[in-house]
Symmetry: C2
Subunit: 291 residues, 2 copies
């Protein structure tokens, strides 16, 4: 059996559980890049992203690229998205396309084609489960045959995740996200890799550490993408408590890293601040794991 | 008070409740377009879409463009998406970007910018509610100031909508989609136009006519985008029963119209079949309304 993308991600995460989020907005760029002549906004963003990848690729498990930030700039932005994910993958890194798509049947097949082949090809995409199994199954041919993976939204990091994700159900006394988790776990049984993790992972916010811990205990085959570290309030201690149970997660940080230079420099040395922030996050978590 | 986009859509729907879905896949094109030289696949799709718009714009309330079909072709496809929505809007038609995006805070702001301004600007987009209110509110500035609108997924037309949308909740004995509907109705109160409809509509499948009828009765300010007509099993009779209560919906048909030429012609006259299918659907519904 060859390794799945989640086998590779899990192995990377043991060295560094950091998922670096390239949610790159134009305003995040240092003046030294903004002032370059003859480049579109998208090309400037690409240049910034490439410099970040060159300088952080040995410090992170993977990159997560938030497509919304690129869609905001139209075609120029999506060219930057395509070139960014290609550059990271050409550097041997696993790339998560944070697209949170959710549609059914033939439409989902189109999304699968769009994000697992061609210009926007990435290794793993995020999906929204609201429409049910019909919105997840069309991606399965790519899991088996093309070594791709999925992260399905379960319990997201935002306060209004309580609106629907946390509602309690009548028959089971479970919360909605727990029922989604049951479904993901069940569907994932057909896609277990050699590390024991399935190619269908899920998204759980570090802002809800108790819920996260329970999910890890209940679903040993599930790998997690964890937003909410840093600005949103999740801490390395919270994460370490879970990772001590199982090396089953990568934790995302976007703004906390890619704006680390802001207020400090607008020159070429911006990359030093970004590199330092990445290393600090990695060490912060690894120190908590040792203690 | 000037008219909102939902005021205009409601007025269009009285003449024809048909929403024509440009879920255009390459294989739908007639040979006469496929064989044109010097055009990319995206450019061929655009040419097909333009011909459809030219010949159906007086027969339909609006167009819904399924972005997944364009994302599948990468940058070339998204150029065709941008040019298609622009062409339809330049022809005075309301365009629904069927993007089903769902993300929070600053990320949702980026999606709003991406789909309500610039290359991909449309009048209304579809959204996924799973992440709660945080995933809906960032679009609000565009509703008030830019005359844009939203269709939020409630009860979709697919069989596995029962997986999560239909689960029954403990506290209220309501189903999840009913709780989502309550939230949409409450948020929409701030955006009511002169026809009485709010700028936050919702998506309900014609494959669940009883549920649809109850929603229409319960939420008089809610306008509906209704998939599921034709191939999926929804009928004009089902629709007419609801529209007799209130002119509160547009009903989408994609494949049933834009592949009407398949098996009949691969020549220039393909457009006659598409036009006929559009007119037939409009008359089918209007005849049921009169009976």
């Amino acid at each position: 059996m060859s390794k799945t993308v989640f086998d590779r991600l899990q192995e990377e995460s043991v060295n560094s559980p950091v998922c670096l989020g390239l949610d790159t907005r134009y305003e995040y760029l240092p003046e030294v890049i903004k002032n370059e002549e003859g480049l579109t906004d998208g090309e400037k963003i690409l240049q910034f992203n490439k410099e970040i990848i060159d300088n952080t690729k040995d410090l992170v498990a993977c990159y997560k690229v938030q497509v919304a930030c690129y869609e905001a700039l139209g075609l120029d932005g999506l060219k930057a998205y395509a070139d960014t994910v290609k550059y990271a993958r050409d550097n041997g890194k696993i790339v998560i396309g944070d697209v949170k798509r959710g549609d059914i049947f033939a439409t989902a097949e189109e999304y699968a084609k769009g994000h697992f082949t061609g210009d926007f090809e990435v290794d793993i995409i995020t999906l929204n489960p609201y429409m049910g199994e019909d919105a997840i199954k069309p991606y399965f041919p790519y899991l088996k045959d093309e070594d791709k993976g999925l992260f399905i939204l379960l319990h997201t990091s935002n306060p209004s995740s309580e609106d629907f994700e946390e509602v309690e159900l009548k028959d089971s006394n479970k919360k909605l996200y727990e029922v989604v988790a049951d479904k993901i776990d069940q569907l994932g049984k057909d896609f277990i890799g050699e590390t024991g993790f399935s190619s269908i992972g899920s998204v759980v916010g570090l802002t809800y550490p108790e819920e996260f811990k329970k999910l890890v205990e209940k679903y040993p085959n599930m790998f997690f993408l964890v937003p909410g570290y840093g600005a949103q309030g999740g801490t390395a201690e919270d994460l370490a408590e879970v990772l001590k149970l199982s090396n089953c997660a990568v934790v995302n940080n976007s703004r906390g890293i890619i704006t680390a230079h802001k207020g400090k420099t607008e020159g070429e040395d911006y990359i030093d601040y970004i590199k330092e922030a990445t290393r600090n996050m990695k060490e912060d978590i690894n120190n908590c794991l040792k203690s």
